[in-house]
């Protein structure tokens, strides 16, 4: 194949992907930093494929993998998606949001990817396609570790799928960093709660940048279920948060700090979702 191709259909894209060593280019916000004057090797640019761009409702929500953060932030979406939209507003600046894509955020598989906790809180699945066919994985199964995903050679992420159940309730995202814009998160939390008759009937909470891959907090979620709105915040116990986390010391913060901050961020995200 040529050094660069910008296919206009998914079929063409997958055919090109099947030809061996090619890199996938979408927003370019992770691929270009560190590159020289141009990208090395063969590149398939997926941003020209209409099926990969945009949001579609019906049987849940389908977000094309090459949908930009700006498109997500500015879309008219149910309140369950608020955490994802709040994250979209805080990923880099406007320039990055205009170029960077949700699929790229997942494929880059940074432990500090701001898109991941909101998607985990929505119960998102990842749709992958290759010339051989299509498969779906839970987001937790797709992300295998820092910079590691379940993508096979020749395979691309085509969409992020939010099930109908994930569209219920309200959500909130809380990001913690040492400056106000353009900051890699020290930690971030997304929480989604479904409230009926004054009680939390369902809750999902996910924490990022405090473990190799962002994680859900099952113990916190279980504690929240059944709580009245008034008592929900008191149900968030530090031990239930920290048991799921394995943070490290880095230039941004210490592991001890991340553990302490995570519980507070969880409370704030839950409070935001309940507000």
């Amino acid at each position: 194949m040529p050094d660069y191709a910008r296919p206009q259909t998914l079929t063409d894209a997958l055919r090109l992907m099947g030809r061996g060593r090619v890199s996938v280019l979408a927003g370019g916000t992770d691929l270009y930093p560190g590159a020289g004057a141009a990208l090395a090797g063969a590149v398939v640019d997926l941003t020209g494929v209409p099926e990969l761009c945009g949001l579609q409702t019906g049987h849940g929500l389908r977000i094309g993998a090459a949908t930009s953060w700006t498109a997500i932030a500015e879309a008219d979406l149910p309140p369950a998606l608020r955490a994802l939209q709040q994250a979209a507003w805080q990923i880099g600046g406007r320039q990055i949001q205009n170029a960077g894509t949700i699929g790229g955020n997942l494929c880059n598989a940074s432990p500090a990817a701001d898109g991941v906790p909101p998607l985990m809180a929505l119960g998102a699945k990842v749709e992958l396609a290759s010339a051989q066919g299509t498969r779906r994985l839970a987001l937790e199964a797709f992300l295998q570790g820092p910079r590691r995903t379940a993508l096979s050679p020749g395979e691309v992420v085509t969409a992020i799928l939010i099930p109908e159940s994930g569209l219920q309730g309200r959500s909130a995202f809380v990001k913690l960093g040492a400056r106000s814009h353009l900051v890699i998160s020290i930690a971030m939390v997304a929480a989604r709660v479904v409230v009926q008759a004054g009680r939390v009937v369902d809750a999902t909470v996910a924490v990022g940048a405090c473990s190799p891959v962002a994680v859900r907090l099952p113990a916190v979620e279980a504690a929240l279920r059944g709580a009245t709105v008034a008592e929900a915040l008191d149900r968030v116990q530090a031990a239930d948060v920290t048991v799921a986390l394995a943070p490290i010391d880095d230039v941004r913060a210490t592991a001890a700090y991340r553990l302490a901050a995570a519980t507070e961020l969880v409370r704030r995200a839950v409070a935001g979702a309940l507000a």
């Binding site: 370019g28 004057a37 141009a38 406007r94 990055i96 814009h181």
Partner: protein, 905 residues
């Protein structure tokens, strides 16, 4: 072939499809208004509009713009037109390197929202970094441009000193100015450096003949190719730094070889034959003091110890009613100007010409000539527009490297540092470990100070001696201190070279002193502002160096803060997490007890121009405008009559370096004297008295004096050797006296003063800080241009915020602009500037320096406000959230015991 619309015109260009659009625009289409700051999407300088939406050109593959519309700063849209005017009117462009990205990002916003609020501007522009302005003027400019449909910006004042004349170089700034990377001769070779990946390592260079034979490799140079003296320093007696190092390399990022590539080839260094043997580095000053010397002539790795001793501080402390003891630790701080070092070199007959970003063309010329073994006359330095400097562009960087390539090959060349190269290889603010005691009597009057500090000066001397000498002189703060013993040692390590950074160590010392003052005020039971007022230096007081001071403005600054202080304390009272802090500064303008003359020439041309040979490099601070205003006032003609020449070592007399807050004062005095000389000559010719008025209309100079009018037709006069019919040149050097062995003397002729008050909110659960407002009172003697003064205050405060809360350079770990954090939109709060004018008899029209002063009080005022808010004493900056929380909650056992014990000895 890529075809697209560029600024409304169809263009086609042959380029690799995944080439960065920024490179395609700059290298193939000549649109160098698009600036490259990081090549990583971290700074936003390269922002262009793609179908109206802001994107980083450095992250955009060229082929993706096929069939689409690209707008760069060279374009014109209604939004850009309004924004350019508003940026000029608000002083929103200082150095101008971020300006194209700001303008385009703002244009994107205005097309979506033509009446944005401040918050909306902050959110929309948050992806662009600025290191000069502190962002507030940019926010104001964009908000005003949004509303500009009805309200045009006010007319620009044309007046003399004391008026906010718009930058004389402003039109270029808002059009995409020409920086170091933006001009080069045709056929220029591309120069790349091989740099040490280790802090300390021996290396061996292999078979260069084979490498030289590779296609596209034009030349390779190593240390053995340096024709002159391969050792430089900003202070010649300490010359120790090689332009290209021979083994061993002494810091990570040190240049060990150069490769010049033919234009158009991929400058691939991966096959360069070099092998490394890493050696154990000395990375801490404490270990370095007892370690093997990095430079054999400097045992204990001691570069310089500066000291000031007056009275018997130990006895004074023993007799004091209250004594506090404490320590403070600071980090390497990176200048992080948005313009990485860049320049080009070529031969003009026998003269080597170097056009590059710089703060110090005269020093560049001397150092480059010495390294290359050339007589001074054979080197010409033409400063490009400089995209921020803040001290680091005082030292030479690429000048001798590109000079060597051009001298040896006879071919023009150019070099542009990558962001990582810029961060690893150029200077930093000295990390400091400081400890000591301060005492006061029962009434709260300072009795004595004992201070000692280790300053990590890195591998080479640079400005280490200046820092070691400046700190003891200033560490009393602007307070009457009867007895003091202060010592500061600059100690070599295998760290990055520490040099000049806005304040030369004084901000570090002020962090220690001003935070101890808060504890001392509490111990004495005195309000913290009142405590400072009680001790503020007054006219006729002697400083720590025994200098009797005049025109002392600190008392006025503190008084100006008083009503704000009362309001802020009342507002903070009883509100969880709210705190108010204050800190002061003083700072001597110009070199410490050393000559630093400036020379200015002004000429009247036969065609009626007033030509100002202005050699003071304007790195954004505004000397092009301020020096012209001073000259205009002294000559008696409007500033609009002036045409500026330079800086250029072939065209402008030496106005010294843009450093030590000296240009307004020292070069300003030279400009005033030159203008007065020219005026005297004009009045003599017109036989007019001193009160005469001058008017210049085409080539007719009209001199009116009490009813008599004389007209001089300049076109009829014979030009002198300089081409002027009348001209004058004047030199000014500050009157100072050397410091004796106890650091006693008059090291500066002029001091500036200031005090800042910070209001903030600490999130006690997370340790994060939200700044609410900063009120800054600065005694500038006379505000030559109030808008530029406010710009300096706001920009210096932003850097002080960074130093206090987020900036920590760690070699190999934060060598980019996403791991190394500088303040963004939203990190600088609203700033109220109170301009205090206590005229200095030595300053031009009473003016004092300002550029560095403004950074000094910010960080200590922030720490004092944190302590006021939550009681936590922060003894290490930056006060990252985890450190603030540790200081309150004892999260980390190690940190707590460390902080509690102190290290005084």
């Amino acid at each position: 072939m890529i075809r697209f619309s560029l600024n409304g015109a169809q263009v086609e260009v042959e380029a690799p499809p995944t080439e960065r659009l920024s490179d395609t625009l700059r290298e193939r289409l000549g649109k160098v208004g698009t600036k490259v700051g990081c090549d990583a999407g971290d700074c936003g300088a390269c922002t262009v509009l793609l179908d109206g939406a802001a994107v980083c050109a450095c992250l955009t593959p060229a082929a993706r713009v096929t069939g689409r519309a690209v707008t760069t700063v060279e374009g014109e849209t209604p939004e850009l037109t309004r924004l350019r005017a508003s940026f000029l009117a608000h002083g929103a462009a200082q150095c101008g390197i971020c300006t194209p990205g700001m303008l385009l990002t703002a244009a994107d916003l205005l097309t979506r929202n033509d009446r944005p609020s401040e918050a909306e501007v902050e959110q929309a522009l948050g992806g662009v970094l600025c290191r000069c302005t502190g962002y507030r003027s940019i926010i104001a400019a964009v908000v005003a441009a949004g509303a500009a449909v009805e309200a045009q910006p006010p007319e620009a004042p044309a007046g003399g000193i004391g008026t906010s004349v718009r930058r004389l170089d402003g039109a270029a700034k808002v059009a995409g100015d020409s920086f170091g990377a933006d001009e080069w001769p045709d056929g220029a070779l591309i120069v790349k450096a091989i740099r040490s990946p280790h802090p300390h390592a021996e290396f061996a260079i292999g078979d260069l003949a084979t490498f030289r034979a590779r296609p596209g490799v034009a030349a390779v140079f190593t240390a053995s190719d340096i024709p002159g003296r391969n050792a430089f320093s900003v202070i010649p007696p300490y010359a120790d730094q090689p332009a290209i190092a021979a083994s061993p390399a002494r810091f990570r990022g040190e240049c060990v070889a150069l490769v010049a590539f033919d234009p158009g080839v991929d400058p691939d260094l991966s096959a360069f034959p070099i092998s490394w043997v890493p050696l154990a580095p000395l990375d801490r000053t404490e270990a370095a003091e007892v370690g093997p010397p990095i430079h054999l002539s400097r045992p204990g790795n001691l570069l310089v110890e500066g000291r000031v001793q007056k009275g018997d501080a130990a006895a004074a402390l023993t007799a004091s009613a209250h004594v506090v003891e404490g320590r403070m630790t600071t980090a390497f701080v990176e200048h992080a100007y948005i313009e990485p070092e860049a320049g080009a070199a070529w031969m003009d007959d026998d003269t080597l010409v170097i056009r590059a970003c710089t703060q110090a063309p005269g020093m560049d010329r001397e150092d480059t000539a010495a390294i290359l073994g050339l007589p001074l006359e054979r080197v010409r330095i033409i400063p490009s527009a400089t995209g921020g400097g803040f001290g680091s562009k005082l030292d030479i960087s690429l000048q001798p490297l590109i000079g060597l390539v051009t001298l040896k090959t006879g071919r023009p060349c150019r070099m542009v540092y990558s962001r990582q190269e810029s961060m690893t290889s150029t200077t930093k603010r000295h990390p400091a470990e400081m400890w000591g005691r301060i005492g006061c009597d029962a009434e709260g009057r300072i009795t004595g100070v004992e201070f000692e500090g280790r300053f990590n000066t890195g591998a080479y001397s640079s400005w280490g001696p200046t820092v070691a000498n400046r700190v003891p002189v200033h560490v009393s703060g602007p307070y009457l201190t009867p007895a003091i013993t202060a010592k500061a040692r600059a100690i070599h390590t295998h760290g990055p070279v520490s040099g000049a950074f806005r304040g030369f160590g004084v901000p570090q010392g002020a962090l220690w002193q001003e935070t101890l003052f808060d504890r001392l005020a509490d111990a004495a039971g005195i309000d913290r502002l009142e405590f400072r007022l009680r001790n503020a230096l007054r006219d006729g007081d002697a400083s720590a160096t025994g200098q009797v001071l005049r025109a002392v403005g600190i008392h006025d600054c503190l008084i100006a803060l008083k009503p704000h202080w009362a309001r802020a304390l009342a507002e903070a009272a009883g509100r969880k997490g709210r705190g108010v802090g204050v800190a002061s500064c003083w700072y001597g303008c110009g070199n410490t007890a050393l000559p630093n003359p400036s020379t200015i020439r002004i000429g009247l041309s036969p065609d009626g121009l007033v030509v100002l040979h202005q050699g003071a490099t304007d790195i954004g601070q505004g000397s092009n405008t301020v020096i012209a205003q001073i000259a205009a006032e002294a000559l008696g003609v409007p500033v609009t009559a002036f045409r500026l020449v330079g800086p250029d070592t072939a065209l402008t007399p030496d106005a010294g370096k843009t450093s030590a807050s000296r240009q307004t004062y020292v070069t300003g005095r030279a400009a005033k004297a030159a203008a007065e000389g020219l005026r005297t000559e004009i009045l003599r010719r017109a036989n007019a008295g001193e009160g005469a008025t001058l008017a210049l209309d085409a080539t007719t100079l009209t001199v009116r004096d009490r009813g008599t009018t004389a007209r001089i037709d300049l076109a009829t006069l014979l030009p002198n050797a300089l081409g002027y019919v009348l001209s004058a040149e004047a030199t000014y050097d500050p009157p100072t006296s050397p410091l004796d062995k106890n650091g006693q003397g008059a090291p500066y002729a002029v001091y500036g003063y200031g005090a800042q008050m910070v209001e903030l909110e600490v999130d006690p659960a997370l340790g994060t800080i939200r700044l609410l407002k900063i009120t800054a009172a600065h005694d500038v003697g006379r505000a030559i241009n109030p808008m530029l003064v406010r710009g300096q205050i706001e920009g210096g405060i932003a850097q002080g915020i960074g130093m206090a809360l987020m900036e920590e350079y760690l070699p190999a770990r934060t060598e980019n602009l996403h791991d190394y954090l500088i303040p963004t939109f939203g990190d600088a709060p609203p700033i109220e500037s109170l301009l205090i004018e206590v005229p200095d008899p030595e300053g031009p029209f009473g003016a004092k320096g300002l550029g560095e002063h403004v950074l000094i009080p910010t960080a200590p005022a922030i720490l004092n406000a944190i302590r006021h808010a939550i009681g936590a004493e922060i003894t290490r900056v930056p006060a990252l959230p985890h450190r603030v929380l540790e200081a309150t909650q004892d999260l980390s056992p190690g940190a707590a015991s460390d902080a509690g014990k102190g290290r005084f000895r």
